[in-house]
């Protein structure tokens, strides 16, 4: 009887471990000034803050990013910062060096602003499928972003990267 109770308790303990969830927020932020020049309008600067927020859920043997989004905004409270498009070009998740088959919905990106109105760019990427990986592996998420404004020629690169290990 004691043996059976012991076994049952061990089983329950293992079961609880398997379903145990540790959730944590992972995030990374950067600020980049994109610069451009036009023979008509001279030298312009667009300072853009970009952030990534993800919810990392860790099970006993696996981990997953359950929800995440990318947020970007041009600094400055008013419309007078000029205009441009800022958009996400790719989102990659790797387990060690293996690229995971990641699903995200590019169509849901709210990225392009064309008018001199307040510029807050929200990029939502909801992914779950294919992001499951062993806890023993080092995960990495990389988000590639790009800026464009057809009135200006780019000085330097108009691309930006956000990267986070987990």
């Amino acid at each position: 009887m004691k043996k059976i109770t012991c076994l049952l308790l061990t089983l329950l303990l293992l079961l609880s471990f398997n379903t145990a969830v540790f959730a944590d927020t992972i995030n990374t932020t950067n600020y980049k000034v994109f610069q451009g020049w036009s023979s008509d309008w001279g030298y312009w600067n667009w300072g853009i803050s970009s952030s990534y927020y993800g919810e990392l859920v860790t099970y006993l043997t696996t981990k997953i990013i359950s929800e995440h989004d990318v947020l970007a905004y041009i600094q400055g409270p008013n419309y007078d910062v000029g205009v441009g498009d800022y958009f996400m070009t790719s989102l990659t998740i790797k387990a060690d060096s293996t690229k995971l088959n990641t699903y995200y919905d590019l169509d849901s990106i709210n990225s392009d602003y064309i008018l001199p109105s307040p510029i807050y760019l929200y990029i939502f990427g909801g992914i779950e499928e294919g992001t499951n990986m062993s806890t023993s592996k080092q995960g990495n998420i990389t988000i590639s972003l790009a800026f464009q404004n057809s009135d200006f020629a780019a000085i330097g690169s108009w691309s930006n990267l956000l990267s986070k290990n987990f």
Partner: protein, 228 residues
């Protein structure tokens, strides 16, 4: 027979290519900072010359001056690597378009005041100061222009800002008219689709304005340069 067809195809392709060549060159849209600093040196020299105001053409009755055409032509050749022929065409077309759009913005009461433009210019100054590399480039440009930082942000760039953002406000008003007429959907946060819809609509309206600009040449030499 087949040879003739190949020649015809080649001619058609060449015509098509020449039609798009100027805009294609401009839309390559990458500039080298060293070329921009050279361009700034040219702007500095030009600023020190006497303001002669020789009118060589008009666009819908608005004056296009020799000096501004020559300056922008030189800048386009340095930064965008256009040849002289393309540069003249591109600059005269661009100047005519911007002057007409700016006048429309003024007439519709959309032009920014100098105070608003100063505020916008100083906002850019704040932005650039938070990025070391960007600040380094910016300060090299200001130096090449022969200006102090204060002169640049509170005088020189204010004029560029005032003109550019006034035209952007005109574009905004064009979109608003489209919304009022039910052509464009009212959107709070744009998706890729709505953004494209807005852009296509504004581009169409601006192209229509551009197509109706009448450029009249006073100086025959510039007419030749434009039509070549």
């Amino acid at each position: 027979m087949q040879k003739n067809r190949v020649i015809s195809l080649f001619i058609a392709f060449s015509i098509l290519l020449s039609l798009f060549s100027v805009s294609a060159l401009r839309s390559s849209n990458v500039a080298d900072i060293n070329d921009i600093l050279k361009a700034a040196g040219i702007i500095k020299e030009n600023r020190q010359k006497q303001d002669d105001k020789i009118e060589v053409a008009t666009a819908n009755g608005i004056s296009l001056y020799k000096r501004e055409i020559e300056l922008k032509k030189d800048l386009s050749m340095i930064v965008f690597k256009l040849d002289e022929k393309d540069a003249y065409k591109d600059v005269i077309k661009g100047l005519a378009k911007n002057k007409v759009l700016y006048k429309m913005a003024e007439e519709e009461g959309l032009a920014l005041t100098m105070e608003e433009a100063l505020e916008a210019s100083l906002l850019q100054k704040d932005m650039v100061q938070q990025d070391e590399k960007a600040l380094e480039n910016m300060n090299s440009y200001i130096k090449a222009l022969g200006l102090t930082e204060d002169q640049y942000w509170t005088e020189y760039h204010v004029i560029e800002t005032q003109q550019y953002l006034s035209i952007e406000k005109l574009k905004e008003s064009i979109a608003n008219e489209g919304i009022e007429q039910g052509i464009l959907p009212k959107v709070k946060i744009h998706t890729k689709e709505t953004s494209k819809l807005y852009k296509d609509y504004i581009d169409k309206e601006i192209n229509e304005i551009e197509d109706n600009i009448v450029i009249e040449f006073i100086d025959e030499q510039y007419e030749e340069k434009f039509n070549n």
